[in-house]
């Protein structure tokens, strides 16, 4: 085991940090959310140019090799800087779906994804899922060579900006994935913003007719690709959360050093020092579980993988809730305004905590595994 970054990884981290500090500085980020609706294609193109969309993807498809640990470096930096574009939900998830789809076109599609020329939104999540990776009520029915799909997808991140959707639907044969172009007639989007400023939409399909070519991989065989993609995205999300909570912690530390009350820096109050110490302990717990999750995130043994991923998300989520709440609390009034950064960390962590299942959900998964094994 080696927990230190390689020289190459350190360089990657540094360039990411420089980019994020510049592009997502407080005012720039505010404009990105208020004026550009929480997504800037120029950013995405820049990621492609910098090679960040190839991280952790096979060289055979134009990627740069490595694995999810490399992506985690990126996501930590994105978390630290409150990047709103959904790298985990869109890129990590879509790339895994394509990679594991078994579709003959996969390599070509991944190439376009890495080049940034196709931006995918993954339309898989449904209102009742709450973290269940294979909960799909959207129906697909075969019809003369193509399929008709009906159903609703919720909180499809980046949907308003995406070129293409990867949509899951269930038929008698099982779960299938479909590639749907954004301009397909008959698709309806209800767009909205999430509380952290990121953009999303609900998609609904009413007997939407799709050609045979829309099917990705074999009909009814998408379970494992979806499950793997969600495991990877969940751990990616954990990495983003660890980055965000670490930054929230240091921002808070700096605030305690400078803010004065009763004639002294409030950091001199022991109760607040101990609170920060507890936050730090929570952060270390989260980081450790992130690393453990990375070790299992792409494990072929589905039960072992799911157990590890859930354990990670549960701990990271708990730590995030504590750190986010205390970061705001220790800031006092200023923590409650949109004009100061710490509240935005709170909101970002709130959204990420709920993504791919809340920590409560994941504790339930671990408990279920215990019961199954007993």
């Amino acid at each position: 085991m080696d927990f230190a970054l390689t020289e190459e990884q350190s360089m990657l981290r540094d360039s990411l940090r420089r980019y994020v500090e510049k592009e997502y500085a407080f005012e720039a980020r505010r404009q990105l959310i208020e004026q550009a609706g929480g997504f800037r294609r120029a950013h995405w193109n820049a990621y492609a140019e910098m090679g960040w969309l190839g991280i952790g993807l096979p060289e055979a498809s134009g990627g740069f090799g490595g694995d999810l640990s490399d992506s985690a470096i990126l996501l930590e930096e994105f978390g630290r800087g409150l990047v709103v574009e959904p790298y985990a939900a869109s890129h990590i998830q879509a790339s895994r779906l394509l990679l594991h789809s078994g579709d003959a076109r996969a390599a070509e599609l991944i190439e376009a994804l890495i080049a940034g020329s196709t931006l995918y939104a993954v339309a898989h999540n449904e209102p009742g899922a709450r973290g269940r990776s294979l909960w799909v009520e959207t129906r697909a029915a075969a019809t003369g060579g193509g399929s008709r799909i009906s159903g609703t997808k919720t909180q499809v991140l980046a949907a308003p900006s995406a070129d293409r959707f990867l949509v899951s639907a269930r038929s008698e044969q099982g779960l299938s994935l479909f590639l749907i172009d954004r301009d397909t007639p008959g698709m309806s989007l209800r767009e909205y913003r999430l509380v952290d400023g990121s953009q999303a939409a609900d998609l609904s399909f009413d007997q939407l007719l799709l050609p045979e070519s829309a099917l990705l991989g074999a009909a009814g065989k998408a379970d494992s690709a979806i499950d793997l993609a969600i495991s990877a995205a969940t751990i990616a999300c954990c990495a983003e959360m660890v980055g965000a909570m670490e930054q929230a912690l240091w921002i808070t530390r700096d605030y305690l050093r400078t803010r004065k009350q009763f004639g002294v820096a409030i950091g001199s109050f022991q109760a607040l020092q101990h609170r920060m110490a507890d936050m730090y302990i929570a952060l270390e717990q989260a980081r450790s579980m992130l690393y453990r999750g990375l070790a299992y995130a792409e494990d072929g043994d589905a039960i072992r993988r799911r157990g590890a991923v859930s354990a990670s998300k549960a701990q990271v989520g708990r730590s995030a809730q504590y750190i986010a709440a205390q970061a705001v609390q220790l800031h006092g009034g200023i923590g409650l305004t949109n004009e100061y950064c710490i509240g935005h960390y709170f909101k970002r962590l709130l959204v990420l905590e709920a993504a791919y299942g809340s920590s409560a959900y994941h504790v339930g998964v671990v408990a279920q595994q215990l019961r199954d094994a007993a």
Binding site: N125, P127, G128, A129, R130, R132, W135, T154, Q155, R190, Y192, R193, L194, V195, D196, G197, A200, D202, K260, Q261, F262, G263, F269, A271, L272, Q321, A325, V328, Q329, G332, G333, G335, L336, T337, N338, E339, G343, F346, K347, L350, V351, A354, S358, A360, G364
Partner: protein
């Protein structure tokens, strides 16, 4: 000791309920239960309606238009109004300014302001905190310098809740900087339309505007608008902080949030079932309910002390504040969790119906975000723990 509830109080509760059923329109109630900030129109309209019934200032002394209710009845009234979704009345005016005015104000000041406030004709804004004087209020820097029969006020105030609604402001200012920080503070009332008063919105974490910062730039305030003695304002403000401590757990708000949580958990889909049928989730709701019951009883005990005019012999206000505020946040987090995907959508106050999700979702996460404030304002929970530890336990 006899813990049986008083049947006459129960009858009073029914009377309040009947009043609310008759007078509170359904749409106003729905709007106010949603969780967005109330509008000035709703607040003043409701105050006027309460005034006609003689109920707009229940806790003021009868001679100034109060109802003469026991603390227990005031609690019942507040709880029923809140649960029904009645708009609040101007808290700054009724809970903060009113008591100072009728206790320390001159006859002329009382005549000018008490009745119009009670009628719902004046909206008040509170100017206490400053950017560098929050928990440490005594270190405030805003100055008021005498110039003939006026004070000239300069400084910056912050966290003025509903300041943009305010017709009049009340303000703590430093009139003498040579003595100890607590001395030398005076209490002024200022016309919000005075030249030099600038009220600027602070957009809060819920993306909404209810907080403000107020800049006072050579604002001329007649000396006649000073309440009480010069340099004695600190003790007046201090009285306010002591006031109403039995109400500080916000039991009505906690109760309303809990009832909404249960509603949402019954609507929410969890796989193929209702979320409320998940034993783990319902246990977490039950846990919150138990805490609420304990809090309610702690409040009843505090009200009884208040009724006797007795010193509780324990730091009850701080206990209530700590636990009540933490419970608000806990229930709020459960609501956001219960809403699942709809707990993350930034619903606008208007036209939220066009977005996905149940009607109950609108305003809930915004409220959860805004209620991060409850453990911070009114003496942060850290300050409350100091009060308990130092003031009561003698540590």
């Amino acid at each position: 000791m006899n813990f049986q509830p008083d049947p006459a109080d129960q009858a009073f509760r029914e009377e309040v309920r009947a009043f609310l059923r008759e007078q509170l329109p359904v749409d106003v109630a729905a709007r106010n239960r949603r969780g967005f900030h109330p509008s000035k129109e709703d607040e003043l309209w409701w105050t006027q309606l309460l005034y006609r019934r003689g109920w707009s200032a229940p806790h003021w002394p009868v001679e100034y238009g109060g109802t003469g209710w026991s603390p227990q009845r005031r609690f019942i009234f507040e709880e029923e109004c809140f649960l029904a979704g009645a708009p609040p009345t101007c808290a700054a005016g009724f809970s903060l300014l009113g008591p100072v005015l009728y206790t320390y104000g001159s006859d002329d000041q009382k005549a000018r302001f008490l009745e119009p406030t009670r009628r719902g004709e004046i909206f008040w804004g509170q100017l206490f905190s400053e950017p560098n004087a929050g928990s440490d209020l005594a270190s405030l820097k805003t100055t008021a310098v005498r110039d003939g029969d006026h004070y000239v006020v300069n400084g910056q105030k912050t966290w003025t809740t509903e300041g943009h609604y305010a017709d009049w402001l009340f303000c703590l200012v430093r009139t003498d900087s040579s003595s100890k920080p607590q001395r030398g503070i005076s209490f002024l009332i200022i016309d919000a339309k005075s030249p030099g008063v600038t009220i600027r919105p602070i957009v809060s974490i819920d993306d909404a505007h209810t907080l403000n910062e107020t800049f006072l730039d050579n604002v001329r305030v007649p000396v006649a608008n000073r309440i009480g003695e010069e340099n004695a304002g600190w003790s007046y403000a201090k009285l306010l902080l002591e006031h109403e401590r039995a109400f500080s757990a916000e039991v009505p708000r906690n109760k309303r949030l809990l009832s909404q949580l249960k509603h949402i958990a019954a609507l929410a889909l969890d796989g193929g079932a209702r979320l409320i049928d998940d034993p783990l989730f319902s246990s977490r709701i039950a846990e919150a309910e138990i805490e609420l019951r304990a809090l309610e009883w702690l409040t009843l005990r505090a009200l009884a002390d208040m009724d006797h005019g007795a010193d509780a012999g324990r730091p009850v206000g701080s206990v209530l504040k700590v636990r009540g505020s933490e419970l608000i946040q806990k229930i709020g987090a459960l609501i956001v969790e219960a809403l699942g995907p709809y707990g993350l959508i930034a619903y606008p106050e208007l036209d939220f119906e066009t977005l996905p999700g149940p009607e109950a979702a609108a305003g809930k996460t915004a409220d959860f975000l805004y209620r991060r404030a409850v453990t911070i304002y009114g003496g942060s929970n850290e300050i409350q723990r100091n009060i308990i530890a130092k003031g009561f336990l003698g540590l």
